[in-house]
Amino acid sequence: MKKSSNLFENLVHGVFLILGLVTIACVLIISLYLIVSGIPAILEIGLVDFLFGTQWASTAAEPKYGILPFILTSIYGTFGAIVLGVPIGVLTAIYLSKLASESVKNIMGQMVSILAGIPSVVYGLVGMMVLVPGLRKLFNIPDGASLMAAIVVLAVMILPSIIKMSVTALDAVPGDYEDASLALGATPEETYFRVSLPAAKSGIAASVVLGVGRAIGEAMAVMMVAGNAPNMPDSLFQSVRFLTTAIASEMSYSSGLQRQALFSIALVLFLFIMLINALLNFFLKGEKKG
């Protein structure tokens, strides 16, 4: 009797252990698949030609597989979204965390959740129908589907994560810091910007890194507004292709080396994301310590 119940308990323990390890297995399998399917094309094209080639012509008679335009577009696009989105997000977060009345805080909290819940294709659709024609008229350019349109859409899409995480970080600043600053004669605004903001800096940095991760990984919304021509991103008003959209736009009809090159692009994107994850962890640890 005793033995059989022990056996049963061990069995249950084993089952739960396996369930716990599924997560690790998933990460390993994903990394493995990306590496195994991404390496061959890089070897065939050559690492330097692949990463720093400025021309992508996968369906030409003499195909060229340079992904520098995609890498630069992804970096510029993400940077632009951060430049546009972070000030708005952080200013909103300070207001909501420190100055807003309870009801404003509640309503805006709902708004931010709604913004976070909107599917990316809906962002893409509104971008296509409102932003793209708007940019075309505003700047008098032949086509509004451009890097600029993608930057604006991405900036809006990263707003909720930046606001939410920054509010959490600002809420966690000890009230004593602020009281001390106020007692020394600083105005509330000076206190929030010169005391609370620096105290919450690693949490806010983490929110920015999270935004970078969101922006660099977004595919569908960008695909609908960026124009998708594999140009070098020389100007804000050019039709461009991101790393994500490079994969999505050719996947359905690709074959052979072209298909393998798309897997290599995914591998490059994956490495970017892993780097960003490591950075995020670094800042989150900093916040726990601080």
Binding site: S5, F8, E9, V12, V15, L17, L19, G20, L21, V22, T23, I24, V27, I29, I30, L34, S37, I88, L91, T92, A100, I107, Q110, M111, I114, L115, G117, I118, P119, S120, V121, V122, Y123, G124, L125, V126, M129, V156, I163, T187, E190, F193, G213, I216, G217, A219, M223, M224, I247, A248, M251, S252, L262, A266, L269, F270, I273, N277, L280, N281
Partner: protein
Amino acid sequence: MISNRRKLFLWTVRGLMSLATSLTGLLTLFLVGYVLIRGIPNVSWELLSTSPSYLSDRIGILPDILNTIYIIIATLVIVLPLGVGAAVYLTEYASNKRIVGIIEYAAEALSGIPSIIYGLVGMLIFSNNMGTCLMAGALTLVIMNLPVIMRNTQESLKTVPQAYREGAFGLGAGKWRVIRTVVLPGCVDGVVTGCILSVGRILGESAALLFTAGFAHVANGFIEGLSSAGATLTVALYVYAKEQGEFEVAFAIAAILMILSLLINLSATMVTKKFQRRNQ
């Protein structure tokens, strides 16, 4: 008392903060309003209840609605035991801090991977073996939603008082019996919250499904549906807007998605509030 320079700073900062906050609020209102106003007039019973037909030049989104429901059910049925089980292992069994750390790190890594990469890997692992079908899409979504379910369950498992477990152990219950009768009933709120969040994510997901579940518009039964290719609402929106230029249908779908995502937000808030009150 306050110098002009400080006053200037004060007013600039105040102005900028109000500007940023109102911009965020107005932007949300505009997005919701614009999509609803342009979409709702296009939602008709015919659109909701028929399949697209070239013969009668008609577009219907019934298959897409069914596919969305199928994929949500299939994903949740698979991800729930996995996610809840992993959470139970982490809080009830794991004694090794390092294993806990690695599993949590893996979950974080999973939630940071962009959906287009999930789509690609899902295509390689699932679709290449079982064909492009809803089930392949659902399995891809299982991996994506695993961290969501796991984390929410874990959070609520932590709120189950240690005394409950000790009490049950003291009465002579085995570990599994304690988990089944004391621990699991205590984490229902986390599981429900996780499910709501997952449904929201599945509803909004498109990049991961494009190459795993495909984009056919045929209305099927549940079992048949899972084994054949099909577009969910989001994928259908993308196809109608980007490839076919059917913007009226696209806005109709967008309005439906917007209403659903508002409902999900509402229920998530209500569930959290309800459980908070109970826990106090």
